[in-house]
């Protein structure tokens, strides 16, 4: 494969290697499962896979930015739970629907900007701050809601159930936000600051980027995406639970990491994390279609994550 190892094709393969691996895995699964049960690729099931996991993809966009910048956020699951409840409560109390949509997003930005400031100026590692915030948000949510679910929201509120030209809105959110962010990451200085600070903060400082302001900015962006994800999450069903979705943060982090964002900071794209979120949805759905014994579901999932990671590492070593 000489043509693959020279020139622009080679650079493309190297630069987007992990994304290609993930996309390939999705296509292989599509092929294999469809052969077993053709209903797998029916529009309704594709809809379940894409639309049902769109909120994870959107949250993973923000998480990818945070990880590229050299930090991590384990409180995103709790934050989404809280923002979802805020959205639902506003809707039930009779506020206009756009208010119920806008306030959680603003709240997400504000909350995470504060976290970002704390991390930037107090020098506490991000894992510590977000570990603490995770507890605070999780406990606080129960304290405030008393554990009751939110029901009886007005019909116009359910943004995740609306469709445009037959395609559910969450899919648009996922694709459009990914595309815009990916383009922005390649072309704008502010985005380059994120990569630079993630790669080497002190070196970035000497070239004129401020690690502190970048950190706050990145976390604020992350809060924006978390807010949108919370809206998509909250409006899929007619009730909103008042407990935080279990393991959501691990799923989002795994999606970012599998998608090629390096935990060491400085590299990766958001296209990979979106593809990875889609891969997870595909895997969950295919395990049911393939009649994998439910008892072995999680083991198979873990094995696939490990396999994807090992493949990525092998690929990096070969190209290094």
């Amino acid at each position: 494969m000489v043509w693959a190892s020279t020139g622009r094709v080679a650079r493309f393969l190297q630069g987007y290697g992990q994304e290609i691996v993930v996309a390939a895995a999705i296509l292989v699964l599509f092929g294999v499962v469809d052969a077993v049960n053709p209903r797998f690729l029916a529009p309704v099931n594709l809809n379940t896979i894409f639309s049902g996991n769109a909120y994870i993809a959107v949250a993973a966009i923000g998480m990818s930015l945070v990880i590229i910048c050299g930090h991590i956020d384990v409180s995103v699951g709790s934050l989404i739970g809280v923002l979802a409840v805020i959205a639902g409560t506003l809707a039930v109390k009779g506020y206009p629907v756009w208010v119920a949509w806008a306030v959680p997003v603003v709240a997400g930005v504000a909350c995470n900007a504060a976290i970002g400031a704390l991390i930037a100026y107090s020098r506490i590692p991000s894992i510590v701050v977000t570990l603490g915030m995770m507890s605070i948000l999780r406990g606080g949510l129960i304290s405030v809601t008393g554990g009751t679910w939110i029901t009886n929201m007005p019909a116009g509120f359910f943004i995740a159930q609306m469709r445009l030209f037959g395609v559910p809105l969450p899919v648009y959110f996922m694709l459009v936000l990914t595309a815009i962010t990916a383009f922005w990451m390649r072309s704008f200085t502010a985005a380059r600051a994120i990569y630079a600070v993630g790669g080497n903060a002190e070196a970035a400082r000497t070239t004129g980027f401020s690690p502190e302001r970048t950190c706050i900015f990145v976390f604020a962006l992350h809060g924006f995406f978390a807010g949108i994800a919370a809206l998509l999450f909250a409006t899929q069903l007619q009730v909103i639970q008042s407990t935080v979705p279990a393991n959501l943060e691990l799923t989002v982090i795994t999606a970012s990491v599998i998608g090629g964002v390096s935990i060491l900071g400085g590299t990766g794209t958001v296209i990979g994390s979106t593809l990875a979120a889609i891969l997870f949805g595909t895997i969950s759905s295919s395990l049911i279609f393939l009649n994998v014994s439910a008892y072995w579901l999680r083991a198979v999932l873990g094995l696939m994550i490990l396999a994807t990671v090992l493949v990525d590492m092998a690929r990096r070593r070969r190209s290094a």
Binding site: R39, G147, T151, Q238, M304, V311
Partner: protein
Amino acid sequence: MKLTTGTLAFTFSLLAGGAMADSVWTGGDSLPTNPLACDATPGTVAAQPYNGGAPTNPPDRKGKKLTVVDIPKLIGIGYFNATSKGIADAAKELGNVDVKTDGPTKANIDDQITFIDNYITSGVDGILFSANDPVAIAPVLKKALSKGIDVVGYDADASPEARQWFVNQAQFNGIAKALVDNLAKEIGEDSSFAIVTSTFTTPNQARWIAEMGAYAAKCHPKLNFLETVEAQEDNVLSFNQASTLINKYGDKLKGIFGMTSVATPASAEAVTQANLCGKVAVIGLATPNAMRPYVNKGCVKSVVLWNPVDLGYAAEYVLRAVADGVLKPGATSVKAGKLGELQVINGSEILLGSPFVFDNSNIDKFDF
């Protein structure tokens, strides 16, 4: 390249291996089943000697104010919000009970044990519980008994010697019969159904599923079980799993059982969003508030099989009766406020009564 193909091949072979699913009935436990008769003959329950535990040297609590704590499997889901409300209502009626509900935010035995342990130390008079695991919770409950605390369970039992009484919403085989009969009525004898449950390690759900299997095999042999999926207590996951089931089986799937108060509304939502309202039946345990939109639309015909508020209410009254010395080992019935006399079965269980069905005619009257 070799490593890539190697790992991918290995992974897919594992998938294929896992694809050879084991027994047809997944989700049920392996304890002996006792299906009821196919007609309306009630099951016979032989009288049994009292098999509950006893507190060691309890102080005389007759007529005195009680401090009681209610520790359900987890807090934050509709079902336990309802039982908690029932307990609070009973406490208000009794007037001399101070009760609060506290519990873990995840259905985790370790957390639940820690909660109970802390309340033992703080010196409560009585503990109400719904166990995440009947055996794991036994040591700490026995410790409570040894400190003279009264212990009464509801909804999910512990080993009998670890508590004094257990308020049972309905017999496992009775619930199984009602569920399967109702589904067969809606979808016909010659149809296929699937189950959405919480996890395979929740004892109640596992018992119900096992009993449902035995009863269906006995009385509705043509009903075809497709599969069971797990959805924990997460309603978005339940929705996705139910949707995937609908996608996978297409026309073949005629009915879905929701085994938890989270799974049933989520399954109903999946059916609604797939525009299969009325074509796929959804039956199961849920609270009226969560199911009202579906029942009013005609998507779901009947819901829930007992009243969790009454369950909590009865549990609180039982605890008061135990503390007052009114309910003693060997009793055959107990008075529980507005619910009247409740029967004692199986030695130390108190039966709430017959299943309660919410449907179009009465669902608007409830708020929990």
